[in-house]
């Protein structure tokens, strides 16, 4: 009987496409890690990396290596929790730490992400202004595009578009090469740790860490993995997705630092934003490098602006038990649609208000990120080490120790960042 069954079913599906089947299996798991890590290189991230290159040349390149390792450590834990529990991080926090903790965490997340969303719309406005498009046109258009893409599109199409957006980050790698760096100096800066013990250099390092490991990423990655329905058998693929994502992200970051280091730093210039960097690159590395840089900024801003409002809305609704999901009708999930639309309207709208202290608001969101990160990391460590929840996939002793040490280091660095920025 068993034999018969095997032969019958074997006949059913001709074995023409085993390679495709394997590819499909990989695609069924790959995505969340790469997308999350790339969204991390958003408008704020690009500004930070540009400034690191412009002000310190290649001398801080080496910090990207430990930053990548820490990023991998944190993201792997998040991915594992998503695969094992099949729940989002906000759900887990609600079930383990109760309503009050959840409320304050999500409130801080909402504020931080609203600030981040604004930063993305500022990125959209500035990058398109380089190409001569007014922000009064670009910001409303992009806001509508983002809203429609997510509300009218299906999850699968949206993810495809996001994966394609990841490819455009290659613009920065090309820009890095166009800047003609001295590769010997680059190698030296990448592998020989040096750090001037002064305020500006320390602030820069701390800011680099702070931009790279953000609270929202943990929520987004875990939800994305749950949404994909990744099973524990496929976890090794999922981990690969996360590791590759982290490495790719920091390679992009590396080339941004490189491009600015080879040009603006050498010429002794100074920049305040990612737009400054794109403009400054034109006379130094040619108009192609400048255009690529601006295009990369637009791509990154658009990408992150599509993800941040939606994911924030998801966590909030899930934690409070409100109906959520783009497959629900508006009457079924009123809180979901209200919050999502409000995030975009407020995020894009504030950018257009003349005379609003945008820089202050962005700083505030950065502060919210920083204040939130320690709590999120501690919650995550407690959850990932919980045997009842994670079973044999909980953090082992060694991993636990490394994770706690990293977390403490991150908390100290974040505290330093807050101190430096608020001083």
């Amino acid at each position: 009987m068993a034999d018969q069954a095997v032969t019958t079913t074997g006949r059913l599906k001709p074995v023409t496409a085993s390679r495709w089947a394997r590819f499909a299996a990989v695609m069924a798991v790959i995505g969340p890690g790469i997308i999350t890590a790339n969204v991390d290189n958003d408008a704020g991230g690009i500004a930070t990396y540009s400034q690191a290159g412009a002000d310190f040349g290649y001398s801080l390149l080496w910090t990207l290596i430990p930053i990548t390792l820490a990023l991998i450590l944190v993201q792997e834990m998040t991915a594992r929790m998503g695969v094992v529990t099949g729940k989002g991080l906000s759900d887990l926090i609600r079930e383990r730490f109760g309503v009050k903790a959840t409320f304050y965490v999500l409130l801080a997340l909402l504020v931080a992400n609203l600030g981040n969303t604004m930063a993305e719309f500022i990125g959209v406005a500035e990058s398109l202004e380089i190409f001569g498009i007014s922000r009064w046109v670009s910001v409303p258009c992009v806001a509508v595009i983002v809203w429609v893409l997510v509300v009218k599109g299906t999850a699968r199409i949206v993810e495809r578009i996001f994966l394609i957006a990841c490819v455009f980050y290659v613009a920065y790698v090309v820009a890095g090469f166009l800047a003609r760096p001295d590769w010997h100096e680059v190698a030296l800066g990448s592998f020989k740790p040096t750090l001037a013990l002064n305020g500006p250099a320390l602030t820069m390092v701390v800011t680099l860490v702070g931009t790279t490991i953000a609270p929202w990423m943990q929520f987004y990655l875990q939800s994305a993995i749950v949404e994909k329905g990744v099973q524990i058998e496929d976890y090794s693929l999922s981990r690969l997705d996360v590791v590759v994502g982290c490495i790719v992200t920091d390679v992009v970051a590396f080339f941004i630092v490189l491009a600015c280091g080879a040009t603006i730093f050498k010429a002794g210039g100074h920049i305040e934003s990612a737009k400054d960097a794109a403009v400054a690159l034109r006379p130094l590395a040619g108009s192609w490098a400048s255009a690529l840089f601006a295009f990369g900024l637009f791509n990154a801003s658009l990408f992150a602006a599509s993800i941040l409002p939606l994911s924030t809305t998801y966590y909030v609704c899930e934690a409070f038990g409100w109906e959520s999901g783009i497959d629900k009708r508006r009457e079924e999930a009123p809180q979901f649609y209200f919050l999502y639309t409000a995030m975009i309207v407020v995020g894009a709208g504030l950018v257009l208000i003349p005379g609003l202290p945008l820089l202050k608001i962005l700083l505030l969101s950065q502060t919210a990120n920083g204040v939130l990160l320690p709590f999120i990391l501690i919650f995550m460590l407690l959850l990932a080490g919980d045997e009842r929840l994670m079973g044999r996939y909980r953090n082992g002793l060694v991993l636990s120790a490394i994770a706690w040490l990293t977390t403490i280091a991150l908390i100290v660095l974040t505290a330093l960042m807050l101190w430096f920025t608020l001083r």
């Binding site: 009987m1 059913l12 309503v99 749950v226 329905g229 099973q231």
Partner: protein, 434 residues
């Protein structure tokens, strides 16, 4: 609170609860002090265990208390509780009432497994998150009455209830928020946290019987994976099969992977053969083989037969269970036969008159049978089917034929032998989603 306002209960009447038939929220009792008979403070209440085998208003059977001394969690039987109030819980004994932690087979820890967790509201067929539990104090007992899934519950948990109420009463005294509680009666609550399985199985059997299979499929989709597994494993075979038929392919694959192959086989056997074939064709090859091997050989053979036809064809969609009549029967005998067969057949709209060698002679509807003279033989009232199908016929063509001739079901033949029957509901699904 001043000393004059405080209510002192004389020690002698401690066994009587202070108030009769009042409601209290779980969140008002959790974390409150536990005091022994001598007034010594023993610890804080961290959980209530309820007897989940009671369908309507499960009784609280014990408390979990975190001791003040060593921060251990202990069990206190409800029989040892003198009064359980928001201010404090008083016991009838002192430290000796604190027993080692244990959980009986019928008990469900409310704070641990219900509060803040997802439940299924089987009345509204919705997945909800529990913000609070509404408990009834009566005759010295504490019983679970409702779960609170509303916004008020959230506000109460945040400790803002009185502030928000006062504010809202001043601004909008008629606000819906003030008038409406969103409670789900416990008898409609299906808890999902992994607890004692016996209790959950009984609950699932009783509660889920009210839920329509399509709603059940939607509930399964809305749940987190862990809860989904708990609920699906608990479902009686027939419900699981119904829900599975209504689910999306991705979810079907995941659900079947959650149960043992033997149970998966039972579930598939419960389904209509065409739906079973449809389902199995979506699964990975090894999983299909495993399930087929665990099925009853005759059932497995039928499904395998269907699986040999291509997707989106009449052969794949057809049902092998349909109403068969023999030409010599009278209308009366035919009706009796329909009655006998109906248990196994999903659609009883059309009857197919076949010879012993499975050759299709004609069709007639149940309506024809009911209206016919009881003594008339079947072959006198049957007519030829206008559009018999080849097993390879595409779904779109089948839909066209059904529409053209206003057919409810279409026979599938090969070399004049009747193989099965395609009904319009199958075609509709294929044409819409295929």
């Amino acid at each position: 609170m001043t000393g004059a306002n405080r209510i002192w209960y004389p020690r002698t009447v401690q066994s009587r609860p202070p108030q009769e038939g009042t409601f209290v929220f779980l969140s008002e009792l959790l974390g409150r002090p536990v005091v022994g008979v001598s007034g010594v403070r023993l610890g804080r209440v961290v959980d209530f265990l309820a007897d989940a085998s009671e369908p309507a208003y499960p009784k609280v059977t014990a408390l979990r208390v975190k001791t003040s001394l060593r921060a251990e969690i202990k069990r206190v039987e409800w029989a040892d509780v003198a009064a359980c109030e928001p201010r404090e819980t008083r016991l009838k004994r002192d430290g000796e009432a604190l027993q080692p932690l244990k959980l009986l087979g019928n008990e469900i820890p409310l704070a641990q497994d219900v509060l803040d967790r997802q439940i299924v509201d089987t009345d509204d067929a919705k997945v909800e998150r529990v913000n609070d539990l509404h408990l009834l104090r009566a005759r010295g007992e504490l019983r679970v009455a409702h779960v609170d899934v509303g916004f008020r519950g959230l506000v109460r948990r945040m400790g803002w209830q009185s502030a928000v109420d006062t504010l809202l009463k001043a601004v909008r005294p008629n606000a819906l928020y003030l008038r409406k509680e969103q409670f789900v009666p416990w008898k409609h609550v299906q808890p999902l946290a992994a607890g004692p399985s016996k209790v959950r199985l009984d609950l699932a059997r009783r509660a889920m019987a009210e839920v329509h299979p399509s709603d059940l499929a939607e509930i399964l989709e809305d749940l987190d994976r862990r809860e989904r597994a708990v609920l699906f494993r608990d479902l009686p075979i027939e419900f699981a099969a119904d829900a599975l038929e209504e689910s999306e392919p991705g979810l079907q694959r995941e659900l079947l992977r959650m149960v043992e192959p033997a149970k998966a086989a039972d579930i598939v056997e419960e389904m209509q053969p065409d739906d079973a074939a449809e389902l199995l064709s979506e699964l990975p090859k090894e999983q299909t083989a495993e399930i087929l091997a665990a099925m009853d050989p005759p059932d497995a053979r039928i499904v395998e037969e269907l699986l040999t036809y291509d997707e989106n064809t009449a052969g794949r969609m057809m049902n092998t269970e349909f109403l068969r009549l023999s030409p010599a029967m009278t209308a009366q005998q035919a009706l009796q036969s329909v009655r006998d067969q109906a248990r196994e057949v999903a659609q009883v709209h059309d009857c197919f008159v076949v010879q012993r060698d499975r050759r299709l002679l004609g069709v007639l509807s149940l309506r024809d049978l009911l209206l016919a003279n009881p003594e008339v033989p079947v072959d006198a009232i049957m007519h030829e089917h206008p559009a018999p199908l080849d097993p390879g016929e595409r779904a779109a063509r089948v839909a066209e034929l059904a529409a053209k001739y206003n057919l409810f079901s279409l026979p599938v033949e090969r070399e004049g032998k009747l193989l099965g029957v395609v009904t319009v509901d199958d075609v509709l699904e294929k044409v819409l989603h295929g």
